[in-house]
């Protein structure tokens, strides 16, 4: 751990100490006050990256028992949720796709189909990355497609508009796709679990899809227009991607398992969200696509451990009444206009997600947003979903998402290039989610 990070860690603990000695605000218990302290402590750790996110998540989990706010059984019990097992199963399924090479075949089909002109090719990259993000986490999608897109752009000069547009489309496509299904990012199942645990709102895989997929479908053409208008791509000849032969048995098996998994997710609501993906993962194991070693390697424990911290924050703020207190205080300042509140929440969430991981931003914002919704009588589901979807953006800054950094590191674009498209994309994204929450979801009967 370097000196800077040690200082950040010390500052984080100083925040907790300050909260400990702060006078008790009216209407808030000691536990509530300290839970707010842990919220700020967590936010500081997530932004400063003083500790890896998973470690920060663990730390957030152990502080409430140390301060005597919750028993260890209660805190670690927050972790025991189907969303955790959904995440584990989804990572295994994703590993199966990668191991079989199915993603490469999908990439070669889509890129070939969209290879008519440079502008259409950019759309192809967006569609490809978004499609894979429906079943694989967005960051993994960027890493997997980076060599494929990189090779297809080999003839393109660094600094050319085609290079900029191609690489930006890769990360934007993955980001836009990641909100569409529960598998795209850990924040999605976290939101489902948060709503179920704290408000008794149970969302199925299909419910999420119905509410969130339109955001992806609306955002993709918008992102395409932004990219090709800001970085007008020159015509180019794509380097031909190595042609794959016939579909291999292992690929058929993965396709079959995915179809079965989605069928269960779509049709058997009573099984929740985790059972189907675990069955799928077991089948991949039984058919020899994945070995136990592969499964061990495919587990990003940081994300799973972060989940524990997120649940502790969410549940802790709710149980101690801190989220209600905070929400009432904020409403007291900004008023009770639901549209204004929603817009402010979306803007803050997007700003936060530009500065920290999507999952961390949603973990911090969800308890506040849901609390505010219940204080002013808005639909908790609508507000929570809106915040969860906005928490999946992060188009403008390199640190907005690991995909942005990975594509930037290839040298095809500069920071200012992604800023140009990203600020616009973030603003339009906020507008799209706002439209969904205020117009489309109410029309769909979501309350």
């Amino acid at each position: 751990m370097n000196e800077r990070k040690t200082v950040y860690l010390a500052i984080a603990f100083l925040i907790l100490i300050i909260f400990y000695f702060l006078p008790q605000p009216a209407g808030l218990s000691y536990e509530g006050k300290m839970m707010l302290g842990i919220l700020v402590f967590g936010a500081f750790l997530f932004i400063s990256e003083a500790l890896p996110l998973g470690m920060a998540g663990l730390l957030v989990m152990v502080i409430p028992p140390i301060l005597g706010m919750f028993s260890p059984q209660e805190v670690f019990g927050f972790f025991g949720n189907e969303a955790v097992f959904f995440l584990i199963g989804a990572f295994m399924l994703a590993a199966g796709v990668q191991k079989s090479g199915l993603h490469q075949r999908i990439a070669s089909y889509i890129l070939k189909a969209f290879g008519k002109s440079s502008k259409i090719y950019i759309l192809g990259i967006l569609v490809l990355a978004a499609s894979l993000s429906f079943i694989i986490s967005e960051h993994a999608v960027v890493a997997l497609l980076l060599p494929i897109i990189g090779i297809s752009l080999l003839n393109v000069e660094k600094g050319s508009n085609m290079g900029k547009a191609g690489m930006i489309a890769l990360t934007y496509g993955a980001t836009a796709g990641s909100v569409g299904t529960l598998m795209g990012g850990a924040r999605n199942p976290y939101t489902v679990a948060y709503l179920a645990e704290n408000y008794g709102i149970h969302l199925s895989f299909l419910d999420w899809l119905a509410m969130a997929l339109p955001v992806t479908l609306i955002m993709l053409p918008i992102l395409w227009m932004i990219i090709i208008n800001v970085h007008k791509p020159e015509e180019f000849i794509a380097t031909k991607i190595e042609k794959k032969g016939k579909i291999e048995n292992k690929e058929w098996i993965v396709i079959g398992v995915l179809i079965l998994t989605f069928l269960i997710l779509f049709t058997i609501r009573s099984w929740g969200i985790a059972v189907a993906v675990i069955i799928g993962a077991v089948l991949l194991f039984v058919f020899g696509i994945l070995s136990w070693k592969d499964i061990e390697k495919s587990m990003p424990w940081g994300i799973i451990l972060l989940y524990g911290g997120a649940m502790t924050l969410g549940k802790g703020l709710q149980l101690t009444g801190a989220s209600q207190w905070l929400a009432s205080s904020i409403v007291g300042i900004i008023g009770t206009n639901p549209y204004v509140i929603l817009l402010i929440l979306l803007v803050i969430t997007v700003l936060m997600t530009e500065l920290m991981s999507h999952a961390a931003a949603v973990a911090l914002m969800l308890p506040i947003a849901a609390g505010m919704a219940s204080v002013i009588g808005m639909s908790v589901l609508v507000v929570s979903m809106a915040v969860a979807l906005a928490g999946g953006f992060g188009y403008a800054l390199l640190m907005g998402t690991p995909g942005n950094i990975m594509t930037y590191s290839t040298g095809y674009f500069k920071q200012k290039d992604i800023m140009k498209t990203g600020v616009l994309a973030d603003m339009i994204g906020i507008g799209v989610v706002f439209f969904m929450a205020t117009v489309l979801w109410p029309l769909m009967g979501v309350v």
């Binding site: 990572f91 191991k99 890493a143 060599p147 660094k158 994300i303 040298g411």
Partner: protein, 211 residues
Amino acid sequence: MRCLIPVHQELYPKNSLKRTEKLCDEIVLLYIVDKKLMDKVQSEASYILPSFALQNVEEFILNMHRQEAEKVKNSIRNVPVELRFVKGEYYESIEREILRNSPDILMTDSHLRGLINLDAPIWIDRGGEIRECTMIVTSLRKIGKIKRAIEFAKNVCDRLSASFYIYYPNTQEKNILEPLGKIVDSARGEAVVFLKEQMQRVPEDKTLLLI
């Protein structure tokens, strides 16, 4: 003249590269892949990605940069180029290369504060043809150093077929400078030359030579 040209993905010295044929006898092309950025990629990737996805990300990115470095090298014609490909911090890498190679001049397009501390003359190229250049002398202290700097600047300007002038705003002891070059009343031309410690604010559009 042995030129050191650092190339970085955020700082691509397009103008300097164009100038090499006139200015340089040999070139050390220092292609720097930002270590902090690569570490960030690696840490983000290793945290979030399963190992299947992780394994080749860094290698692939480095390979892309190697190919780019070769492209930059091949774009320079008629001057021998030694390519150095390093993963490191921008200034540190340049500093190390200056120690290792003792270049006569460092060529770049970007005016960065940190460059001043480097132990080599620095050419900050704004592009375009250079017909005249002016050395601005603000004080005659360290006259020996000034004389050597003027010799060096004259050599650079000669190579660019540009006329060389000296601008010394003080009235005292002008005669000391007169044998070294033509004294003018104001800075002329597309390039200005400063001793690093005497550097003043310069117009954005002028090429700079800092000695």
